[in-house]
Amino acid sequence: QETVRWGIPMSFGSNLTALGDTMPWVSEQLKKVSGGTVNLQVFEPGKLVPALAIFDSVSTGKVEAGYSWMGYEIGKVPVSALFGAVPFGMESPQFAAWMYFGGGDALLKEAYKPYNVYPIFCGSISPEAAGWFRKEINTPEDIKGLKFRAAGLGGKIYQKLGASVTMLPGGELFQALEKGVLDGTEFSLPTVDEQLGFFKVAKNYYMPGWHQPSTNQFLYVNTAAWAKLKPQTQAQIETTCTAGVTMAIAKAEALQGAVLAKFEKEGVKARQFNKTMLDAFSKASKEVLAEEAGKDPMFKKVLDSMNGFQKQNAQWHNLGYLPRDYPH
């Protein structure tokens, strides 16, 4: 057993449930299974390198590895957005199915090879909420001119529907929403949204998380650093990350019910977008995804693979499970 000590910058604070505390868990487990010799020491966002610079730092070898949502590097590697979250895409179990058994992992490694990055699937969480709105949203008309904060592909889709999209930094969101600088914002899971306090100032909480049916995190490892590891250590890291995926799915799923109940007590109306809205979002999503696929061949390749897998599994997905609203 070799001795390894890496500093692992994260893009989420470890206080954010499921999103940020998976890697610290993985790191603890690694220490245990290796008898204390493999130490991937996690660092809170910004402490080592900035939260959004993890891809860059791993790619250039400034750190051996880092833990991040895949998609922050959309400006450099457009396909990253697909691995992080796809509007109307796959839910966590299905995404894991595609990654491990549908060719996803191989595509991922191929896409990141030119950048000297070896990404390991290491966490996936339940759908995000669609967002907090100051008023009810019933028709696509309600989106027109809406001042909304959204990131990534979701932002482009809202723009298509006529919203005026901004990218206000996390720290300014609460006040902007309170004062009406914004009419709405999406952020993350209900448990994470709770920590930011949005329920105090916006009372319409919309679901489902059509823009992010699953949100996936990866351990980015520098290719050279990875190659230097013994096979035993490599296996230990990959296995604990696979376990991390399970833990993240379980934890994210476990905690949301209680939070929604708390929101209700605070006077928040938890709702679901109606069919008209979802159709409008879906149509705009298809357009945005097609545009992106037209710009980047790798994006198209991965999108086709995902769509193919989803299509092939569609009948099973629709028939195999109890309908979501079937009484328990």
Binding site: L48, P50, L52, K62, V63, G171, A176, L196, K200
Partner: protein, 455 residues
């Protein structure tokens, strides 16, 4: 004790000692870190010594990404904007007129001028979120007048540094925004929680000035009385002269509270408002715009130079295991929740002697906030206590950033020694306030509770 811990301690000691060489703090922070990096890399590559994560120059180059993060930090845009607003306000003559009219009215009273400065400091605090900006502006407005009225250099410096520093506590506050961001709590709660302690501090300062006016007229003299009579007309003029400034505060705070702009954008609106005031007083021309721009550059950039140096320093500290050392220390104490809060406050206070709040918020908070959170302590209360401590750290020598900002703009003849001396009573008042908030958490929690119903 692993070797890198010795390196960590050596780096801290070297930095603190070298501060007194009189070389710019910004380049000392960066340069000392650089020298220690060179030492660490040599030791690990030549002698196989354990230097934690700092093992090659490529690792050190992570500082570039940290610079990039400063460059793309939208919240920090408000820093040059608030400075610009202050300088433009100064050139518009509005604040000067207000100051002079106030002095005519209140200058005859004991401590009247000092009170005026504190009140204006509170008004500025309510319009800016950045200490650098409010200290600098307040100093430029009031130091010359106070010295002209024979206030002691130390006392005048103390009044300006302390009142200017209220700007970081009284909302809007960039520090509270970043704290909320780090710990994932709502900024709204923090803003509300900080308001009452901030205003109480202002009151405390004023009480102090009144008392000094009676006890030590040699360092805080009243205006020589009897040369003019105070007329109703003068009072009216003084009142009218405050209107433009109130208008500006209305632009800045109003645009935030009525949902027109974010605090960052409000800084730009404030700068524009100051330009309009200058134009109304026929003081706005290309020459003024050019000069205000240049002064904004030098004032903003000495703050950013320190940001840059501090970010390098913090990076190297972490790369040689500083975080681990701190965590182990806290784990080793075995304290209960209240003990932990006290210890954290003590650590922040001591750290404040050497470090920038920006770095403390990044180092200490994320490390300790989870511990505090799990022990069931009210986060708003805890964070505002930390904020009070951080605000105090601006005023504690030797490394008090308010003191440096002040030193950058005081009239010739005021030394850093005067400033250090003058600030001591205000630091004591800060500590008293922290004590009060520890004993009576309602000082902090009352307002957020009223606003949002829950903590």
């Amino acid at each position: 004790m692993p070797f890198y811990e010795i390196l960590f301690l050596a780096l801290m000691v070297t930095f603190i000692t070298s501060l007194f060489l009189g070389y710019p703090v910004a380049w000392l922070l960066a340069g000392v870190s650089l020298v220690f990096t060179a030492i660490a890399i040599t030791l690990t590559t030549q002698f196989g010594v354990d230097t934690f994560l700092l093992t090659s120059w490529v690792k050190f180059s992570g500082i570039i990404d940290r610079f990039d993060a400063i460059m793309s930090n939208w919240v920090l845009v408000s820093l040059p904007m608030f400075v610009y607003m202050g300088l433009m306000l100064d050139r518009s003559g509005v604040a000067d007129t207000m100051m002079r009219n106030f002095v005519k009215v209140f200058g005859g009273l004991r401590g009247g001028l000092g009170l005026t400065v504190i009140v204006i400091g509170i008004l500025l605090a309510a319009s800016t979120g950045i200490v650098g900006a409010s200290v600098v502006l307040l100093a430029m407005l009031s130091m010359p007048i106070m010295l002209q009225h024979h206030y002691s250099k130390a006392l005048a410096s103390g009044i300006v540094a302390a009142s200017g520093t209220l700007g970081i506590l009284i909302p809007p506050s960039i520090m509270l925004v970043l704290m909320a961001d780090q710990v994932s709590v709502s900024v709204g709660d923090l803003f509300m929680g900080a308001l009452v302690p901030g205003l109480l501090l202002g009151v405390l300062y004023m009480a102090f000035v009144v008392i000094v006016g009676f006890v030590r007229p040699d360092i805080l003299p009243p205006r020589p009385a009897g040369d003019e009579k105070l007329t109703a007309r003068q009072i009216g003029i003084a009142f009218l002269s405050t209107l433009p400034t109130f208008g500006l505060i209305l632009v800045v705070l109003g645009s935030i509270f009525f949902g027109i702009a974010t605090p960052t954008e409000a800084s730009g609106l404030g700068a524009f408002g100051a330009m309009l005031l200058a134009a109304a007083n026929r003081k706005l021309n290309w020459q003024v715009i050019r000069e205000v721009g240049i002064a904004t550059t030098t004032t903003t950039c000495f703050i950013f130079a320190i940001f840059i140096g501090a970010t390098v320093f913090a990076y190297v500290l972490r790369m040689i295991g500083g975080d681990e050392l701190i965590t182990e220390f806290f784990k080793g104490t075995g304290l209960g929740p209240t003990g932990m809060v006290m210890l954290v406050l003590a650590v922040v206070f001591v750290a404040g002697f050497f470090l920038d709040w920006f770095e403390i918020v990044l180092i200490v908070l994320p490390l300790l906030a989870p511990v505090i959170k799990h022990s069931g302590i009210e986060m708003t209360w805890f964070l505002i206590l930390v904020a009070l401590m951080l605000q105090t750290s601006f005023l504690t020598p030797p490394v008090g950033f308010s003191l440096f900002y002040l030193k950058g703009v005081v009239p010739k003849g005021v030394t850093i020694r005067d400033i250090y001396l003058g600030v001591i009573p205000f630091v004591l008042m800060q500590m008293a306030m922290v004590g009060l908030c520890l004993l009576f958490p309602q000082i902090i929690l009352w307002l957020p509770g009223r606003m949002y119903g829950a903590g």
